[in-house]
């Protein structure tokens, strides 16, 4: 009996091994750490499909907030990053951790909330809206609540920036009462939570659109420079981390800024959401605060020089 079980177990093992390796790609692997919005909306699945096919590689996508993605980069655990937090990106480049910062796409953040807008933020600018939510929330946390990502992501960074612009100290905001809910989760889960609690939250436009079907929340504040959301690709510096695949990372960034990549980004979501979820950076570089060089193809030489 025991022998039979052992044999069965072993044969399942052998079967499983052969199955799992039969389907594996034999090309190189490129490790990408990305912010959740590009993954959860499905855009990266499309990009992966095209990129894998074109270069016979396998793009391995690890999805998390911008905070953890940049940390993976700093540890040399991934080859390339897709993130959206300008300050941390610039620091990453300045510290010599990254190369080839390229703006690839943009859209806007939304402040979303219950349809009846209990804090009356409609028509305000983003930072004033947050201040209004806090003021009403402190008075009556039953009716006015705000859910924060609270996970060091790019969206969380932007929220903190908006509090700062409103003249408020974030750590005080964070601990000022039950109206402020620290979710500590990704954008999708945060939206679901905000929906359950009929609370306000800050969301990138694309994730909100992708989840809209399950939500009763509506966008109350959209557009404006305060809510501009720029997605950026960076290669991890091989001089700091000898294990990373800089050549393939550059190739990936090249693919993203190429016409083919920009067309993929521009067209994504039209069939499903009747509008594109991301605008390509191409042609809008100045508008989104990127230099011309930051929209151009990376030079292949920079990996070798590093």
């Amino acid at each position: 009996m025991a022998r039979m079980i052992l044999l069965t177990t072993l044969s399942i093992l052998v079967l499983a091994v052969s199955c799992s390796f039969a389907g594996a790609a034999d090309g190189a692997r490129l490790k990408l750490a990305t912010t959740t919005s590009l993954q959860d909306t499905g855009l990266l699945d499309l990009i992966k499909e095209k990129f894998d096919e074109k270069y016979n590689v396998s793009l391995d996508v690890v999805s998390g907030g911008t905070g953890i993605a940049i940390q993976y980069g700093e540890r040399g655990d991934v080859d390339v990053l897709l993130v959206h937090d300008r300050e941390r990106e610039l620091k990453f480049i300045k510290d010599g951790q990254g190369l080839e910062r390229r703006c690839i796409a943009y859209n806007y953040f939304y402040i979303v909330g219950p349809k009846d807008d209990p804090a009356g933020i409609k028509g305000l600018n983003a930072s004033r809206a947050l201040a209004a939510i806090m003021e009403k929330g402190q008075k009556s946390s039953e009716t006015v609540k705000f859910v924060s990502r609270g996970d060091n992501s790019g969206t969380h960074s932007r929220e903190k920036l908006l509090w700062k612009k409103a003249g408020l100290n974030y750590s005080l905001v964070n601990s000022s009462g039950p109206w402020y809910i620290d979710a500590g989760q990704g954008m999708g889960a945060t939206l679901n939570l905000a929906n359950e609690k009929q609370a306000y939250t800050l969301s990138d436009m694309s994730t909100f659109m992708a989840y809209r079907g399950n939500l009763t929340l509506v966008p109350l504040i959209e557009g404006g420079n305060d809510l501009l959301n720029v997605y950026v690709a960076m290669a991890v510096n091989p001089a700091k981390h000898p294990g990373v695949n800089c050549a393939l990372a550059s190739q990936f960034i090249n693919f993203l800024v190429s016409d083919e990549g920009q067309d993929l980004i521009a067209g994504y979501g039209i069939d499903k959401f009747h509008r594109s979820l991301f605008s390509p950076a191409r042609g809008n570089c100045t508008l989104i605060g990127c230099s011309a060089a930051e929209c151009a193809s990376p030079t292949a030489a920079s990996c070798a020089a590093a």
Partner: protein, 228 residues
């Protein structure tokens, strides 16, 4: 309630039609957890035998410690293994992070205490006479351990299966070490976490049902072995 029922129906549909995505994730899950259980068993069963047979100071304390580690939090193991195999860690040069191999190592570490502990318990139940007889016939220590393990094989197999069950159902190591990469390190538990956070509750239910079914099979095997 409607949601649970729909999820249940969808789950059955996905399983019966052998949905490629579901099959792929299930196969990978089985492969990774079986490999980790196999790897752990290779090390833990002889090690358990050694601990059981030898007499040394602090043996009771060691066994106590091992038993405490049965409930080792999976995220803690995940974190420690992450720090070890991350590029900046001591084993970074092997590039194991975000690979199935890394997951196998992590899960093997996770289930080691259970396997060692249960092996010790299993071998302790073997009568002293068998050990003494083997010894008097001139067996080496390794030979004695082999004889005792053979004698207690059912309980040892049960220990290994239990370890396999824990590896299969854990999510901490799989998420932190594997990174939940689609088509590469995505397994049943990490899929459930992801699909739930994305609101695809029916698919989550389906994957959850598969996980429970596998656990059920393991449990039936365990009962079968122990009932003999």
């Amino acid at each position: 309630m409607q949601e649970i029922w729909n999820g249940f129906l969808r789950a059955i549909d996905l399983i019966i039609t052998l949905n490629p995505q579901v099959v792929e994730i299930t196969t990978r899950s089985l492969f990774i957890s079986l490999s980790s259980a196999f790897l752990a068993a290779l090390i833990c069963v002889p090690l358990g035998g050694l601990i059981e047979l030898r007499r040394f100071r602090g043996k009771d304390a060691l066994v106590n410690l091992i038993q405490t580690l049965y409930s080792l939090p999976t995220v803690t193991v995940g974190l420690i293994v992450f720090l070890l195999i991350s590029r900046t860690g001591p084993l970074g040069s092997f590039g194991l992070l975000f690979t199935p191999s890394g997951m196998i190592i992590g899960q093997a570490i996770l289930v080691s205490p259970i396997m060692i502990g249960l092996t010790i318990t299993a071998l302790a139940a073997v009568s002293v006479q068998i050990k003494d007889t083997a010894k008097s016939l001139g067996a080496t220590e390794m030979q004695i351990i082999a004889v005792v393990i053979k004698e207690a094989r059912q309980a040892v197999v049960a220990a290994v299966l239990l370890g396999f069950g824990r590896a299969l159902s854990e999510v901490g190591v799989a998420m932190m070490i594997g990174g939940n990469i689609r088509g590469y390190t995505r397994v049943l538990t990490t899929s459930i976490a992801l699909e739930t956070s994305m609101g695809n509750l029916e698919l989550s239910m389906a994957l959850g049902m598969i996980l429970i079914s596998i656990s059920l099979i393991i449990n039936m095997l365990l009962n079968r072995i122990q009932g003999r």
